[in-house]
């Protein structure tokens, strides 16, 4: 196995990591790898054909092997009607490995040959650019030369962009190139080389995230392990999204984001649900969670209820009673999700509620405070944030007779006397 490197899948990850500019082409389950003609397989699992590598992974052991397509000299298909068909990968000088397929060997062999002849591991866009510069540019020096080269680059990128958008087929073909351009922009942005303001940068960053799925898992590329593969892709996609959404995202939101990232080959809500139900089996760093109200969310494992409750309590101590709407705004999550978090904190006895026609507000749960008979109202800072209308009523009251609070009219704040 000298031409193979060992792969291992870290805890919390669901699949091996693709390199930069690498994308998946085809997968097939129930494949075993044999050294030369040995009978005993080295490993059984799922085989992956990517633009750069050939990898086989045993998910039960979280281990695998991979080799680079660039060192493959020859491939051979040994068809067999009665036993497993074999694909033989030759590295030259009689050194070879055998992949034994339970099914779909022919399809895999065809795709492998096609990939090898396309040399997908060679970064194309760089090559093309070199050709352009070497042919058309008369060598010059200084700033003029730099400007001209930059213009030329921009022209070719512009051409590529227009070309890509003329027709969906072309777009698909150019997807890899588009991503290359996007990556280049990302690199430039990273170095702070653009004039755009911060907001623009942020917007562009989010677009980059949305564009970044080169190899959507489809039923065609992964066949009967479609849901496993989809689940892996959803997990690695959401790993990037969850930290920005407070460790939790509703299934509906995840559905929208994921399909937007795919752009084409959209999946159905049912597919997503099925994929998410496999998280636990695949050892993903997130899991599905159903709230008592029936709302289903995807929750990162690092995100726990206790931390959420603490955050909420902290916000209440700082700003007073909180409504789902306010919490949603503060944590930048959807109102539904905010409400679920509040209800959850309530059922864990951290909060209690004030429900009126004006809405639902949550307070720290003073009922279970040991000193409930003698609460220090200043520390609870409760009176300060009773919704507006009520403040006005109380204003009349306070001006009439002696109470322990008066109002500073201009600032509309409570002061304790």
């Amino acid at each position: 196995m000298q031409f193979f490197t060992q792969l291992s899948i870290e805890k919390g990850k669901t699949s091996f990591e693709l390199e930069k500019e690498e994308y998946q082409i085809l997968t097939q389950k129930d494949v075993s790898i044999h050294n030369g003609k040995e009978k005993k397989p080295k490993l059984k699992g799922v085989i992956y054909l990517t633009s750069k590598r050939l990898a086989i992974i045993d998910y039960s052991k979280r281990k695998g092997f991979s080799t680079f397509l660039s060192i493959v000299k020859k491939t051979n298909l040994e068809k067999s009607t009665f036993s497993h068909s074999k694909v033989i990968i030759n590295f030259g000088e009689d050194k070879f490995v055998t992949f034994s397929f339970k099914s779909n060997a022919t399809k895999f062999a065809e795709k492998l040959v096609e990939t090898l002849s396309n040399k997908t591991w060679v970064p194309k866009i760089v090559k093309e650019e070199k050709e352009v510069t070497s042919k058309d540019v008369t060598p010059k020096f200084g700033i003029e030369f730099l400007l001209q080269r930059e213009n030329q680059e921009r022209d070719s990128e512009k051409k590529l962009l227009t070309q890509a958008f003329t027709d969906l087929d072309a777009l698909m073909k150019n997807a890899q190139k588009m991503v290359n351009i996007a990556e280049k922009f990302a690199y430039a942005l990273h170095k702070g080389e653009t004039d755009g303001g911060k907001q623009e940068t942020d917007e562009f960053n989010s677009i980059l995230i949305e564009i970044g799925m080169v190899d959507p898992v489809t039923k065609e590329t992964s066949g009967d392990i479609y849901y496993d593969e989809l689940s892996r892709q959803v997990a690695s996609f959401l790993e990037k999204v969850l930290p920005k959404t407070g460790g939790m995202i509703s299934l509906a939101d995840a559905y929208c984001l994921f399909n937007r990232a795919r752009g084409t080959e959209l999946i159905s809500p049912d597919d997503l649900l099925k994929a998410c139900q496999l998280f636990q089996k695949l050892g993903a760093s997130m899991d599905l969670r159903k709230f008592d109200s029936g709302v289903i969310v995807i929750q990162s494992k690092s995100n726990n209820d206790e931390a959420n409750c603490k955050t909420i309590i902290h916000l209440i101590q700082k700003n007073g009673p909180i409504s789902p709407f306010e919490l949603a705004k503060k944590l930048k999550i959807s109102i539904n999700l905010a409400k679920e978090q509040l209800l959850n904190a309530e059922s864990n006895l951290f909060l209690c509620r004030d429900e009126t026609i004006e809405g639902l507000y949550f307070y720290e749960n003073f009922f279970l405070n040991e000193n409930v008979d003698n609460l220090d109202q200043k520390n609870l800072s409760i009176n300060e944030n009773i919704p507006k209308e009520k403040k006005e009523t109380s204003k009349k009251e306070t001006s009439k007779k002696e109470t322990f609070v008066t109002i500073n009219g201009e600032d509309d704040e409570w002061q304790f006397v």
Partner: protein
């Protein structure tokens, strides 16, 4: 007499929303019971009528513009009854007798009074307990007949008294025994 000191939690809006979470609600109702008993005791109030009393300051905090709604009051009264601090006065559960002292507590108080006045071992009438000159300074002075009898029955259970029923309610007698 008219200045009742409400507890601090009376000024917190969630106190007026019946809490949906069991553990929290139990504690909330306990606080409500404490408040109702303290309030009725302060104003020597023996019944709460849901219709009439829903506008009372007990269930209405105008300062924070919150009130306990009828449903909440009914739930609270149910809880009072469950804890022996209340008794429904009608089948429709519209009004409730508030027992701010349990019959046991009343009984003890009466016995203490009897002991103090050398009535143990003797027979006295319920009238003497409720409206007699010796009882004028006592908290149970003016207590209604039913409650008094129930208090005495509680003593009877502990073998501290024996009731002699009579057709004329005020002639009903009671004999106190030594402990």
């Amino acid at each position: 007499m008219n200045n009742f000191n409400f507890p601090s939690y009376y000024n917190l809006p969630p106190f007026f929303t019946i809490q949906p979470v069991q553990a929290t609600r139990e504690k909330q109702l306990k606080l409500w019971i404490d408040l109702v008993l303290a309030f009725t005791k302060h104003f020597k109030k023996y019944t709460i009528d849901i219709q009439e009393d829903s506008k009372s300051s007990l269930f209405n905090n105008e300062k924070i513009n919150r009130n306990l709604n009828d449903e909440g009051i009914r739930l609270l009264l149910e809880e009072l009854v469950k804890h022996g601090h209340g008794e429904w006065l009608d089948k429709s559960k519209a009004s409730c007798r508030i027992i701010w002292r349990t019959f046991d507590e009343w009984g003890k108080m009466i016995y203490k009074w009897a002991d103090k006045n050398g009535l143990v071992g003797q027979v006295c009438t319920v009238y003497e307990i409720r409206e007699g000159d010796l009882a004028q300074e006592e908290e149970f002075y003016g207590l209604d007949y039913d409650t008094t009898i129930k208090a005495l029955e509680a003593l009877e259970k502990q073998n501290l008294a024996k009731i002699f029923k009579s057709e004329n309610s005020d002639e009903t007698g009671v004999k106190f025994f030594t402990q």
